[in-house]
Symmetry: C2
Subunit: 221 residues, 2 copies
DNA sequence: GTCTATAATACGATAGAC
DNA sequence: GTCTATCGTATTATAGAC
């Protein structure tokens, strides 16, 4: 299985491309994102990707030599986007500010790139066959680094004692949920298919959860 | 697309089954759960299900008339399991107790039925083609009912002002994350493939998050 | 109930004309 | 660069023997 890392781009392979090449590759990747994010790698078909891209199947395979190469291209692009919000967490800010703005960045990323989020989710559910190496190396390293920042705040009493890595899991899951399970969110809230107005409420909810206090101390009347 | 509800079982159709029938159906459903939960409906193949069940493909199709019928059987079984923890929330308990035990039930469900959780997640990512009706009717109704309980607590000042339905989303996402993204959790924590020891830490994290206070009030030195 | 054989279609990928 | 035609395999499902 071809494994991908966030910085596996080889500039030497990149020959100068014509305008039409760039346009077609973009069309294909956009269509493939649509199909892969909905059905996963195995569930996606070149027929559907080609149809979505309004392109013949052989023409599509003129730009990417096979199905896996398209998938790899999408995942590679994704990984940088994925790590960006986490990288920005700084040890120098206030815990509430840093965590708050991280949550807002992740929610914004979820709102702006729901298909990318579902592509990632599909890869996870399948057991991460393509990005297992990335998770074990680059992601783990970045998480360890940021977890150390959180641990510092805990030691200083500026953050409640908790496992920092699980705090990150909680932030990831709650924010990505709005992209990955958007169908359920919309159905439960009674919204129309395209409606993503729930993101306003999501910000509010997650700020209360992570920065405020959900259950007040029992009153001692 | 065949739609499913949580109570769509028709007892009249259920003829008495021999022991071997029950055993084989169970074997098939167990194998199918394994395959569907990993690759989704479209990504799953009867070949893999049959191989996993150690059964020939035609024999498998002797028990279920096609691929979709197996999938429907799994989802139908799933939905009751899925709603059970939510149904138990009572308006008469303390908010902290009710929410706390709901989180523990959901985490336990995630730990005990990770493949069922991933089956559900795959269905969500695909746009809920089979259980859209369930989400809009039964789930929405139950959520509205339980959200009203939360709202009552909010009105009484026993719960912070928030959208109760988004509070449920937060509980669902954080708890299911440990099943759906278990590969990532294990890789980031540096655990072995089968290791699910992180559930101990998860309980602790989520209790701090939902019942405690993550970021203490700024000290006014 | 289980099997082998196979029909019928879906799918990934290539050949070769233009 | 794009197309039609097509090959080989995978996949769903059925027929019919045992």
């Amino acid at each position: 299985m071809t494994q991908i890392s966030a910085s596996s781009e080889n500039p030497a392979e990149r020959r100068s491309k014509t305008r039409i090449q760039k346009e077609n590759e973009t069309r294909i990747l956009l269509a493939a994102l649509e199909v892969f994010s909905e059905n996963g790698f195995r569930g996606a078909t070149l027929d559907r990707i080609a149809a979505t891209a309004k392109m013949s199947k052989p023409n599509l395979l003129y730009y990417f030599k096979n199905k896996e190469e398209i998938h790899v291209a999408l995942l590679t692009d994704l990984l940088d986007v994925w790590l960006a919000p986490l990288r920005e967490i700084s040890p120098h800010g206030e815990p509430a500010d840093e965590i708050g703005s991280y949550i807002r960045r992740k929610l914004e990323s979820s709102r702006q790139f729901p298909r990318e989020s579902r592509l990632f989710a599909n890869e996870m559910l399948a057991g991460a066959p393509h990005i297992g190496d990335f998770l074990q190396s680059e992601l783990k390293q970045l998480v360890d680094e940021k977890a150390a920042i959180f641990q510092g705040w805990i030691d200083e009493g500026r953050l409640a004692p908790c496992d920092p890595r699980h705090l990150l899991f909680a932030i990831w899951s709650t924010t990505q949920h709005y992209a990955d399970f958007s169908v359920q969110v919309r159905h439960v809230l009674g919204l129309q298919p395209g409606d993503v107005s729930y993101y306003e409420e999501a910000v509010s909810m997650l700020e209360t959860l992570f920065l405020g206090r959900l259950v007040p101390p029992a009153s001692t009347d």
